[in-house]
């Protein structure tokens, strides 16, 4: 039963007891719920996925294992046989309507493809550029995800694109722009599948990449760009429903990711760089204003994600200021005093905002 179904289950009983809905009405709603609640998690599916992950790791550790006793042709037969077998099994499972297990088999196939690239490189002493091998693997996973309509394969493709970009960046010490092409391709496939979980994965990948820009651009002084981009994304998220009503489900998420990026940039600016005091205070005020903003926005849009982001941002900001100032400029007692006043002010503001969103609150309390 999904979270929504559980909550509705509780509410239905309350609503019936209050006399707002009839017994028949409740039964109808329950029937409708049972037929449409597709997001249930079951143990079998979870185990299927875990099994596939384990087999994938098994294939990978083949490399570490001593398999040079086997003749080379036999090893190749094993790789190709494993590849065809896992996709074949996936086909049979799709046909028999076990999509979860079928996707698990697709994942095994994708893993064997990756293991095959590494094993063949080892057997034939192909050195080349290791990130290229990761890119090849990512393309294989993307193809499997698109052609077989497999969300798990698309998730693997996204992770591999990140690994590829991370590796290239680590090798060269520069921003790796081709990441945007890889990310765009996988994200387009995820959007085409209409998979919201995958879009979140794409958003997290992009957020991490933007945050990393701060450390690579302008010799590690690109955090200002990160803050700007984050604010831009947040603003776009908030403004999106004004342009097109259909975008409103994504508004809150866009704002949350944008603010998260902006915070990461601001924290890096404040706490990882040596700054003049006035500039630091300015940034701290901006950060706290943003924190307040996201809490207010969270309340307005009814978004727990934004609220928690605000609380977390506030905690990190305060802790950061503490470590930055303790024993040096202000002294910790002054810090705690000011932080305390700030928290109380915040509480008052939050209470006011909260009361405005839910007018019944003040009246009932």
């Amino acid at each position: 039963m999904s979270r929504y179904a559980k909550r509705l289950d509780r509410d239905l009983v309350r609503w019936r007891e209050a006399g707002w809905i009839s017994q028949d009405g409740e039964a109808n709603i329950r029937r409708d719920l049972a037929s449409t609640d597709s997001s249930k998690l079951d143990l079998a599916s979870a185990l299927g996925i875990l099994g596939a992950v384990l087999i994938g790791f098994g294939a990978m550790s083949f490399i570490a294992a001593h398999w040079n006793e086997m003749p080379r042709l036999f090893r190749l037969a094993l790789i190709f046989g494993g590849l065809f077998a896992s996709y074949g099994v996936a086909g049979v499972l799709f046909e028999r309507c076990h999509p979860t297990f079928a996707h698990a088999a697709v994942l095994v196939g994708v893993s064997i493809f990756g293991a095959g690239i590494m094993l063949i490189a080892q057997m034939f002493h192909i050195e080349g550029n290791p990130p290229d091998a990761v890119l090849t693997w990512a393309l294989g996973a993307l193809a499997a995800g698109v052609i077989l309509k497999s969300n798990p394969a698309l998730a693997v493709a996204m992770l591999l694109v990140c690994l590829w970009a991370g590796w290239e960046t680590g090798d060269t010490g520069e921003v790796f722009w081709p990441f945007l092409i890889g990310w765009g391709a996988v994200t387009a496939a995820i959007a085409w599948r209409g998979w919201s979980g995958g879009l979140h994965l794409a958003a997290v990948a992009m957020a991490i990449w933007i945050i990393s820009l701060g450390y690579w651009l302008f010799d590690g002084n690109g955090h200002g760009v990160v803050v700007g981009l984050g604010l831009l994304i947040a603003a776009a998220g908030i403004a999106a429903p004004l342009v097109d009503e259909r975008l409103s489900p994504w508004s809150m998420q866009g704002a949350a990711y944008g603010l998260c990026i902006a915070y990461a940039g601001l924290f890096a600016l404040q706490f990882m760089k040596e700054l003049p005091l006035d500039y630091f205070i300015l940034l701290a005020i901006l950060s706290l204003a943003l924190v307040l903003g996201s809490i207010a926005l969270g309340l307005r849009l009814g978004s727990p994600a934004l609220l928690w982001l605000g609380y977390a941002g506030f905690s990190i900001e305060v802790l950061g200021i503490y470590f930055k100032t303790v024993g040096s400029l202000l002294g910790s007692s002054f810090f705690f005093l000011s932080a305390g006043i700030l928290v109380i002010l915040l509480a008052v503001v939050a209470y006011r905002l909260h009361a405005r969103v839910q007018p019944g609150l003040e009246a009932s309390s």
Partner: protein
């Protein structure tokens, strides 16, 4: 067979054959290089060993891994391609005769061009502009995987400078290790399949 079922199996076949084709191409590309590439013998210089993930291997260094550019030359960028012309020396092994960031215009029949990539360059110091630039090169023939356990023994042989490598080089200058030689005898032979 219904259309839906046929589509499913076409999709499955496309993915499986596509991925198998990529792996197959990797093998074919390498085997054709080993089979058709021109054979040269290079002297091996000892370096240090072992990979965590890929089993035992020895790291091989070569005379041709360093190339000295004349003073005043602009040092090439990291990872840039670099072309070295080789010619058979007095003994079995081949020696460098020329090198540069562009492929040579003319190549004698008894010479062969190998393509490497710039690993790093030593910059001339400020007070001595006349110092020459040394370019460290990688050719993709720097590690050789050996049966588990044989690494130490081979390493020792490399350490004693008794080893030379048989390299296949194709028309594009790409290189692959065909085998290892010790005192003129083949100690490891790379089977094609």
């Amino acid at each position: 067979m219904t259309t839906e079922r046929r589509n499913l199996w076409v999709a499955i076949a496309a993915v499986a054959l596509g991925q198998a084709a990529v792996l197959g191409w990797m093998i074919w590309d390498r085997v054709s290089l080993l089979a058709n590439g021109r054979e040269v013998v290079l002297e091996v210089i000892p370096v240090d060993p072992r990979s965590l993930f890929r089993g035992d291997y020895v790291v091989l260094g070569y005379d041709i891994s360093r190339y000295t550019l004349p003073p005043g030359t602009k040092p090439p960028k990291r990872n840039a391609p670099f072309y070295v012309t080789l010619k058979k020396g007095a003994g079995e092994t081949w020696q460098t005769v020329a090198g540069g960031t562009e492929p040579p215009r003319t190549v004698q029949p008894d010479e062969v061009v190998i393509q490497g990539r710039v690993d790093y360059t030593t910059q001339p110091t400020l007070d001595n502009k006349q110092e020459s630039v040394v370019v460290a090169l990688q050719y993709g023939i720097e590690s050789f995987f050996v049966p588990e356990g044989a690494g130490r023994e081979l390493e020792k042989m490399v350490g004693d400078k008794k080893i030379s490598a048989v390299i296949a080089i194709d028309a594009d200058g790409r290189a692959a290790i065909k085998g290892l030689m010790s005192d003129g005898k083949q100690v490891y032979d790379e089977p094609l399949l």
